[in-house]
């Protein structure tokens, strides 16, 4: 049995804005965008530092606000990455995923581990190889967590 489906060609209003004869070249636009990100770097780093401090504080609690933790981790991922804090950003992404995988439950030992990792990556005093090793082990931990608690799709 098949259900009815309608196929049609929509009007793509963005079509008139790309591949135009006169306009901003892709190179120039990307360069201008890069400059904007660079200019915002200091403010973004300030926000990320505040979020990291909050993550560390919340992670120590026995039953923290997981929605808030998820929001903070996601912010660290997006804004930290844009500000060039790549390893910290990756850690934020892993933490967001871990919070997601835990669902309604909370594992304090896992929270403490992430809180510690995020704090150390913000300090950025460990050698790069050690930071990479830490991220790899967190990735492994998330994989194990995914097997323990398969996420609902």
């Amino acid at each position: 049995m098949t259900s009815a489906a309608r196929f049609y060609t929509p009007t793509n209003r963005l079509a008139d804005s790309v591949d135009v004869r006169y306009g901003l070249s892709v190179d120039t636009a990307a360069e201008r965008g890069g400059q904007v990100v660079l200019n915002a770097g200091a403010d973004m780093r300030k926000s990320v530092k505040e979020w990291v401090a909050e993550v560390m504080r919340l992670s120590e609690q026995p039953d923290p606000d997981k929605a808030r933790l998820s929001w903070l981790a996601n912010g660290i991922l997006g804004v930290g990455g844009a500000a060039g804090m790549m390893r910290l950003s990756r850690c934020g992404g892993l933490f967001a995923h871990a919070v997601d995988l835990m669902g309604d439950r909370w594992r304090p030992e896992l929270g403490a581990l992430y809180g510690n990792a995020i704090g150390r990556l913000l300090d950025d005093t460990d050698p790069v190889s050690s930071q990479e090793g830490m991220l790899a082990s967190l990735e492994d931990m998330n994989r194990r967590l995914a097997v323990e608690t398969p996420a609902e799709s």
Binding site: A5, F7, L14, D16, S17, D27, W71, N74, G80
Partner: protein, 203 residues
Amino acid sequence: MNASQSPVAASAKVDLSRARALLFDDNQVHLNLLSNVLTSFDLRRQTKVENLRDAKASAGGAEFDLVLVEAALAKGVGFEFIRWLRREGPEFNRATSVLVVTSGTQLDQVHKARDSGANFVLAKPITPPVLLQRIIWLGRDKRLFVEAEGYCGPDRRFKAFGPPVGTKGRRHDDLNFKIGAAVEPNMSQNEIDMLMKPTRVKL
């Protein structure tokens, strides 16, 4: 929702000065970052919203050429907004290009974005060249739109291989699986050769 589009040449040009974008993100720092990057692309007509109610109200009040939605909004309201836009949103915005910003490579988020009717997914952290490239891809997107019971949005099949064997196609350009009987005798080898063979002609 893959990268099967033609590459974007560095010399390609865009004029986004007349385009209008709706940005939906509950993180003001990220929202401002996106907004400033779009402004640097000359896309200055923007509406920034941080919750579902404002997103719906904005979509109902103006025509948008591009919608950027954060995937990780609490309680999945980003996906809810896209589904609403595709099914119940005002007619003038139902097929608007939607770009979902996700927190990395989590497959379930990509699936949710695709199934809610988004055109493309962009993984964080966002860089200006990648954002611009996706906008250009969206501008070049020629996919059909599908309205079905379980899905509304751009055709999720990037390549058309025809309908599955044994089923009747639902696309208007799907061909009938049965091949009709020949209506003329087969061409001889000589006739086929003559189609390929260069022949001197007198002008």
